[in-house]
Symmetry: C2
Subunit: 396 residues, 2 copies
Amino acid sequence: MLVGMHPHQDGPLARLRRGHEDLVLELLRKHGPLSRAELGQHSGLSRTTLSDIVTELIESGAVVATAPGTAPRRRGRPVEALTLNPSAGQAIGIDFARRAVHVSAVNVAHEVIGSASEPHDPGLPWEERIALAERLVGTLANGGLRLGALNAIGVGVVGPVGDPDSGPAQPWPSTDLPALLRKRFQAPVLVDNNTRLAALAEATWGAAAGGRDVLYLRLSHGVGGGLVVAGALHRGAYGLSGEFGHIAVESGDGRCSCGATGCLETVASVGAVLAAYRRAGGLADGLAELLGALEAGDPVALRTLEAAGTHIGTVLAAVCNAVGPGVIVLGGELATAGTPLFEPVGRALRAHIMPISRDRVDLRPATLGEAGGALGGIALVLHESPLLSHYPAAPG
Amino acid sequence: MLVGMHPHQDGPLARLRRGHEDLVLELLRKHGPLSRAELGQHSGLSRTTLSDIVTELIESGAVVATAPGTAPRRRGRPVEALTLNPSAGQAIGIDFARRAVHVSAVNVAHEVIGSASEPHDPGLPWEERIALAERLVGTLANGGLRLGALNAIGVGVVGPVGDPDSGPAQPWPSTDLPALLRKRFQAPVLVDNNTRLAALAEATWGAAAGGRDVLYLRLSHGVGGGLVVAGALHRGAYGLSGEFGHIAVESGDGRCSCGATGCLETVASVGAVLAAYRRAGGLADGLAELLGALEAGDPVALRTLEAAGTHIGTVLAAVCNAVGPGVIVLGGELATAGTPLFEPVGRALRAHIMPISRDRVDLRPATLGEAGGALGGIALVLHESPLLSHYPAAPG
């Protein structure tokens, strides 16, 4: 869902325009300050076209024109030089998680320049969550963020996000949230599911950095995930992809929050695993105690994780056969259990994946933790709106 | 797997160059014959850049320059006009199926201008299959195909196709086949799995024409499929995607040709369904008799299809939850059973897909039949090498 972008333009002219802008920015990155004449030589663009492009880049804040004299020539009159604006091209990621707001920001070099988080009551009204996000972003601004030069904001939310027209009723004000954020930050806003964004973040900066085909599974209070396919975040026709938690497991009969029966989530969420541990006689108020029991070698705890891990690995094998990822990343609180979970997952995965794929997929723990959603928001901005907010939306 | 293409170039300059060529071709498609000056005005390109682009387009055969005089002006001397070459940009698709070779060709307007097929013994040596393909393509040439202007050939083969370095041993001479085809046809060759290509063809010209997120399942002697994701063919990290036939089914215990146990293929291939029908007391030498029994309302035949369809729908639901397609296309010989298969498939799909997705996915029979693989080869060429063989490969 793209909000605040120009209407989808993907004709050859729009693509060409974007290609021209990319080229000019790339040349300035590579060569440093250049005159308009030099840019013309390097780019092959006509004077008129180049002049249009440069004017827009300056207006958007991405490029600055230094006064004549600062770029001395060996002979003739000094000419104006064009340089990249070092504080431009920044992007902010905001993750409106169930019980916390996380924000992160990157500079034009795509380096993370700051992150901030604050937990809140799950019932906190949206107006206050947004105010909290604004306050957290403000703390980043003290660290050097120039809001005026913001490229775009990538926002993660709980629940499916699809096309605004076809999407289901959201637990957030679907038309107001992006508009509100856009107004407050004066920047375009891109919204996606926060678990899917965490998948993109793990494939960009985390456990699967650089991976082009990545499966991310998050085992938390819910079970969800995301797919990165050929280097891009996969959404599906209605934004309903990566719902691994709602794949049916063998002989599953538990009623799921989605309305179906026997979903992976009913046996592999933190709550489901704790309940199974208690049913088997284990004593644990929360995940911390269960993790402690695992560390102490409690056989009941180990068997509980073995059962959950087997279901998880079987579902992962089905998804692997369908989409063929190179890396599987396991995240969420339950994944912190480590070996007692990863071993049965890997075993069931190997048992059910096509034998030819067995040695071609890596199973790894997530590395970005809670920051994944916000970082994924930034990755979304960098993928879909490379440097400037006025770009037409990328296809797909 | 791209063979005979230039090395992967995806820098801003290569993209820009390709954008320039696309733009010039698009302007000629839209406006008809144009002079260089008119092309310059429409495109915004400098004279030098435009001259380079036009020279290459003429050399490659995509554009022809008409002699001065054929494009009269109201005043001044007559100028040369540039037009699209109507016989350029053709592409051939070849499907080396198990027991037949299929070929198809399209013109620059992407219209199918001819198709040809010939069955053969499954043991036919590769040299003879290639000769057969050449002969079939020759019959298309009589129909107006100019081999000299060929863009590229898209080739479908049986079995997984991945990166040549990481791929498994192929049942075809993996280094020789593309080289041989390239040499014979003097055109670049792109190779992919023929079932995946059929998926791309159904999403381009068939049951899901125009669909951007499509799941194609082929129920034949084997069970396989392909995914189209955001409008592009999905390959996976090692070319091992779309292997829906090797997803485990509930309480499946049949040994599969892939080496695993309980795969969908062991209960939903034509052979598996026939075997189940016979085990239940049905009499059928082949699929034709089973289809006849279904048409006659034979309850044993209907129950057999019900059981297979339930497994198929359950696996489809799992894949849908993971990748969220808008359309599911069922192809292959078994899909010709129609309602007795589609009904139980749809029922199991609806029972196991996330309730929120239930009404968002269409289940449709394939429409391209045996030609799908060859047409998919053409679609691959058009996707990855839009008009001219010297383009750098598309990203992804």
